[in-house]
């Protein structure tokens, strides 16, 4: 199976994973690879960081913030005066407090609106950081359990429908080929499947040191050559073992991004990483 097939199976791809695993990198590479396939791509960014615009200079990037999305939502429901008042007084934060998840719902609602709009073939969402993905995606279910009726409940319903439909939305889980990140990815995968009920696309393993085992023992014992080769072999063996564990536990197709040692991620590096995927 072509590992890139997923870009045409659902219109929304939410990139999720713990902090530091390279979600933004993966978002950029997925977007770049999809553009090369001729798709109309939109990238959505939730943290307010300008990184993705630099990585994808020719791609449309939208920043969605909860308060802007809530304001826009109220506007669109004939509550524009209320919206202004809420934002200008900062009461919007209190509203979000009164009903946890409401900020996530309006953000997901905005994504759903873009998905329904049909202007894009693929919407790649650089998901929220640091284990927030589950809460973020559970917001619709959680809200529906407490709120009955009203515009927000309608919105939550529509969001829940989108999340549950594998033909509309999928999650790309990102991990690193190390023990702790893989443990966390496995836990997240179970939670996303069982609690959120969202479809999992391929799992992306980032920063993989892939290469042959070096014949360390041909170098003299105690030499720098030998120590370096042993270190590298141990790292590569760990990466292989962790990738195998991901496959064994999740049974999902795997996309791999190679380790790019130490360098700053820029648009050119994203291009090169996408080359690796376009070739397969």
């Amino acid at each position: 199976m072509d590992p890139l097939q997923f870009v045409s199976t659902a219109r929304v791809a939410i990139v999720a994973g713990k902090g530091g695993v390279g979600k933004t990198t993966v978002t950029a590479v997925v977007a770049r690879a999809a553009i090369r396939l001729g798709l109309r791509v939109l990238v959505i960014e939730l943290d307010g960081k300008p990184t993705l615009e630099d990585l994808l200079p020719d791609v449309e990037v939208q920043h969605i913030s909860a308060s802007a999305a809530l304001g826009e939502y109220l506007d669109g429901h004939g509550l524009s005066r209320v919206a202004k008042r809420l934002t200008s007084t900062g009461i919007i934060d209190v509203v979000a407090t009164a009903s946890p998840g409401i900020d996530d719902i309006v953000v997901l609602g905005k994504i759903k609106q873009l998905e329904r709009g049909g202007r894009y073939d693929l919407i790649v969402v650089d998901g929220p950081a640091a284990g927030h993905a589950i809460t973020f995606l559970l917001a619709a279910k959680g809200l529906l359990a407490t709120v009955r009726g009203g515009p927000i409940a309608t919105q939550a319903n529509e969001v829940a429908e989108m999340l549950a439909d594998p033909a509309r939305c999928q999650v790309l889980l990102v991990t690193l080929p190390e023990t702790t990140p893989v443990n966390e990815a496995l836990e997240t995968a179970v939670a996303l499947r069982e609690r959120v009920g969202v479809h999992l696309g391929p799992i992306v393993v980032n920063a993989v040191d892939d290469g042959p085992t070096l014949s360390a023992d041909t170098a003299p014992e105690g030499s720098a050559l030998r120590a370096a080769a042993e270190f590298r072999n141990a790292r590569r063996a760990l990466h292989r073992a962790e990738r195998a564990r991901v496959t064994a536990e999740l049974g999902l197709p795997q996309l791999v991004l190679p380790l790019v040692p130490g360098s700053m991620l820029d648009a050119e590096a994203v291009d090169r990483l996408a080359d690796g995927w376009s070739g397969t």
Partner: protein
């Protein structure tokens, strides 16, 4: 210049901060282990529910909200706990309530349960609150905090003042006012702004919220004072921040951002730890060998050397400018081939963080 070891020997509070995935939890655990070896009674607090600290310490059953004493071969003590946000919040409500009846009314409120469990910032605030309580606990003379993996890693510092601001919010005041005037709940809900909010979020959610704020009335002073004390503790001389980073360009950039934020808040970074560094192995032979297998070994050594140098250059960029105090003690911790999830692996990390002096 104060070394990391001197900080571990002298501080009352050590706060490990940095972006996600840089090894903060392991660093916090290793600092705790070193403290116990120095004869101190240290407690390590983690907020991350991902069991990382339990893994790093090799605690099979996991950690609880109450500190567990760990087996350490040294004169001091090492304790560890995993913060349970909701339980800590409940304790704070009980401590500040006028009587048990007020406490129970709040704890049973649905809106409160939402806030205690999931409000963003609650976790950070409770971490700061717990830090304060442990600092006052006579069982410990050093509290080491592994800060939560927040969106921007700064929320931990902002949490106490966010709470103070929240209490001062006009809406909050408005919600609490009626109790003082003896009005009924439905009158509050009839306020135009609240009616509007009710239309958006649903009436029962609003009713819960109003009931919560009314039950909360009278407790805000206690909460505010506590928040102020936490802010004071974070700024005190006994509290040192340890900035943890990995030698990648993006995490170094975030670390610099964090350092500047600490400096603006007049909180000083005591030491820097750069985790997961590529090790060095010494110099390669003068010439690249001809035989393919030998040449591959030569190339590997050169590659690792180049990576090492790139990483050091990134790390050096953190020390440029005035985000960090000049000459700050920086420890580079080389990557271990495996992962840290036992006391013996933690002991190796400790010895890398605190290399024996000659």
């Amino acid at each position: 210049m104060t070394t990391l070891l001197e900080h571990v020997g002298a501080a009352e509070v050590l706060v490990c901060c940095g972006s996600g995935g840089v090894g903060k939890t392991t660093a916090a655990a290793a600092l705790g282990l070193q403290a116990a070896l120095l004869g101190r009674r240290a407690v390590v607090v983690t907020i991350d529910p991902a069991r990382r600290l339990a893994d790093a310490l090799g605690v099979p059953g996991g950690l609880t909200n109450d500190p567990i004493r760990l087996d350490v071969d040294g004169p001091g003590e090492l304790w560890a706990l995993m913060l349970d946000t909701a339980t800590t919040f409940d304790g704070l409500v009980r401590a500040n309530a006028a009587d048990a009846e007020q406490a129970e009314r709040i704890l049973a409120n649905r809106f409160y349960r939402n806030v205690a469990g999931s409000l963003s910032g609650t976790q950070e605030y409770m971490a700061a609150e717990r830090l304060h309580a442990l600092h006052a606990d006579s069982r410990f003379d050093l509290v080491i905090v592994d800060t939560p993996p927040t969106r921007n890693a700064l929320d931990f510092l902002d949490a106490p003042s966010t709470l103070a601001r929240f209490i001062d919010h006009p809406l909050f005041k408005m919600l609490m006012l009626p109790t003082r005037r003896g009005l009924k709940v439905f009158n509050v809900a009839a306020q135009p702004i609240l009616k509007t909010i009710g239309r958006v979020v649903g009436g029962d959610v609003l009713a819960d919220a109003v009931a919560f704020f009314q039950a909360f009335a009278g407790m805000e002073t206690g909460f505010r004072e506590r928040a102020d004390e936490v802010i004071e503790l974070l700024a005190s001389k006994g509290t040192r921040f340890v900035l943890v980073a990995s030698p990648r360009a993006d995490t170094i950039e975030e670390a610099r951002f964090f350092a500047e934020r600490l400096r603006r808040g007049r909180l000083e970074v005591g030491a820097v730890v750069v985790n997961r560094c590529t090790p060095t192995f010494g110099d390669p032979p003068a010439k690249r060998p001809r035989a393919a297998a030998q040449a591959a070994l030569y190339d590997n050594l050169q590659e690792l050397r180049a990576t090492f140098e790139t990483e050091r250059a990134h790390a050096a960029s953190l020390l440029v400018g005035n985000a960090l105090p000049p000459g700050i003690h920086t420890t580079f911790v080389p990557t271990l081939p495996g992962d840290v999830h036992s006391m013996s692996a933690l002991a190796s990390i400790r010895s890398l963080l605190f290399p024996p002096t000659r």
